[in-house]
Symmetry: C2
Subunit: 365 residues, 2 copies
């Protein structure tokens, strides 16, 4: 796959201009662009500017409101439900995370469930906001149904990511940010583009048979929960995905299970929806609500060092601390630029001509 390199600043300018073009406020355009660029910088290419045209298409279908009135509709000192007013999840989730953090500052913890939102980008962006305040961050979202529960062939769950982010001392934060399916959808898309066989245990056919065909899900099959099959704990992946679905949607009043509206604009939401939009769940827990921050960070560093120094199975592959590869990618891409595939560049060029925005300049070779 050939790629073209762009500077972060050029992609950021272009992304902000696109969000302004669909009617977002200055503040929202900047924030939404920041979430997408953070994904590209951290090497999670599937969730960055690659999705920009997808958000625009949902806006064109009037499924995204560019000027939402995001508001708290229910609360206690440490809990809140937020109505995202069909806004970009990229701006609704930061609003919600901020509410969680402000509650945690006063009471030690804050928890927000969100309805009537759209896709919020990478879960890690939102959880990390708590880390900057010496808090532990939690973020989850439900998503378009692609995953079948154990013992079923029906797509009833999204890849429903959960993220836990922990501050450390001299090391970068530990960020566990994971789809609750065996494989993320982005990995499947890469295999499709390369027409490459999948490992067994990622997908099943519409009849529930194992398959390594990269087109299985396109042909009516489904992704499998983390664990792949019952013997290897797929009921656990299902349980985690169910947990995300309930905390984000049953608790907030969003849609859940098969009723979660699809991210792709060419598929319409089902009728007789039980809720509004998609759901998120965000939380912040003050470290000094449990022990002094310095003590916690010192032990986090000790934890990280012990695991980094674990005896490796192969000498050339040490243990990877959760979040470490993304932090490394961010360092590199800030300097060397962000590589975009030809398909993503084509998407961006189309947006450029649609809205009359100067295309991002390629980085000097």
């Amino acid at each position: 796959m050939s790629t073209i390199n762009f500077d972060e600043t050029e992609l950021r300018r272009f992304t902000e201009a696109t969000f302004l073009a669909i009617g977002c406020s200055d503040e929202h355009a900047k924030l939404a662009a920041d979430v997408l660029l953070s994904s590209d910088l951290r090497g999670i290419d599937s969730h960055g500017v690659a999705r920009l045209s997808g958000y625009v298409r949902l806006w064109e279908k009037r499924r995204i409101n560019a000027t939402p009135n995001i508001r708290i509709v229910h609360e206690t000192p440490t809990t809140a439900t937020i109505d995202g007013d069909r806004g970009l999840g990229l701006v609704v989730a930061p609003f919600a995370m901020n509410v969680a953090i402000e509650k945690a500052k006063i009471y030690g913890s804050g928890w927000v469930s969100v309805k009537n939102s759209n896709h919020f980008g990478i879960a890690g962006y939102h959880a990390s906001k708590a880390v900057a305040e010496d808090m532990i961050g939690f973020s989850m979202t439900n998503a378009s149904p692609l995953v079948a529960p154990t013992f079923s062939t029906e797509r009833l769950l999204g890849t429903n990511p959960m993220c836990y982010a922990f501050p450390a001392g001299k090391y970068p934060p530990v960020i566990v940010d994971m789809a609750t399916s065996a494989a993320a959808n982005g990995k499947l898309e890469i295999a499709q583009r390369l027409n490459k066989e999948l490992p067994e245990g990622w997908v099943q056919t519409s009849k529930g048979a194992t398959s390594t065909d990269p087109l299985t899900v396109k042909n009516g099959g489904s992704l499998l929960p983390l664990g792949s099959d019952r013997e290897h704990g797929s009921h656990k992946g299902f349980g985690l995905s169910a947990t995300v679905d309930i905390l984000t949607a049953v608790l907030s009043g969003a849609n859940y299970g098969p009723w979660v509206p699809p991210f792709v604009a060419f598929l319409d939401p089902l009728s007789d929806l039980p809720g509004e939009g998609i759901g998120h769940f965000l939380g912040a827990l003050r470290v000094d609500g449990f022990r002094p921050v310095d003590d916690f960070k010192r032990h986090m560093d000790n934890w990280i060092e012990r695991f980094k120094n674990a005896k490796p199975t192969n000498a050339d592959q040490p243990v990877v601390i959760p979040g470490e590869p993304e932090t490394a990618a961010e360092k590199t891409r800030k300097v060397n630029g962000i590589p975009l595939t030809d398909a993503v560049v084509k998407d961006i060029m189309e947006l450029s001509s649609k809205f009359g925005i100067n295309a991002p300049k390629e980085r000097d070779k």
Copy 2:
């Protein structure tokens, strides 16, 4: 494996008497027995009276304090750290869960991290206490190191369970209670007793090779994280296990990673420990902090019905709602008794003669 059936009341009497014999107060003996019996009733045989002699052996080694002064050592309105004073986790965790629930009653949520404790039985017991109050319950514990992180051969993590418990309306609560390893240690022990080959993906040898030998872990190998290998997401199982280790121990001041004291009394804890005892994390989140309880329960019922009615892969195996098999076992065992294996009965008979307690009467055939 042959089993003998006992009535719940007989096993409860015997278990309470055993805890009284090691010096527990009336209240603690009743509570500890309730946690163990709940496990046996719910069909989780590995965590019930089968463990009673294990707790006694730890007490004999002076690693369990039968008369602990359990106390809050740090708190904010919604957070607390509890020192378990080397008590039975079976009484320390209920104390902590109660603190979380009382905080949630006032502020909407409560979160407690626990140090200086011991094994707390099944995670589901503690999380379910919140459900009875129309709250969502969270419980986690770290445990003796048996699991290797992805890319390593070292046992650095316990099977570190996480549990989420949600109230429903006309259906039983949804209880996700899962080890974060591919297989729980109890399943391995069953295979060992039967000398039965394991599925690939449960364990690895001390060199990191795949193995199906049930004695692999006894011979220096390790359990694998949920996901089994990198390609199937074992880094996610590792991330979940790390999350449990940090929330239960790095946050509270308990031991973490390889320093978690072993449950078996014949292995001594390591020297130069970074913390005290093992750690738990318990939480309670008021449902009506987000939406009216009746609305939530109605949508939980809808969620459960939709998943129960999912198209099955095989007509004779419908989708299993998390917690459903345990609720069914409890109903049956309350009526038909609790089957114990010969090995467990032998253990109980030894305790009976050691402490001069009348052995539990077998159920009439």
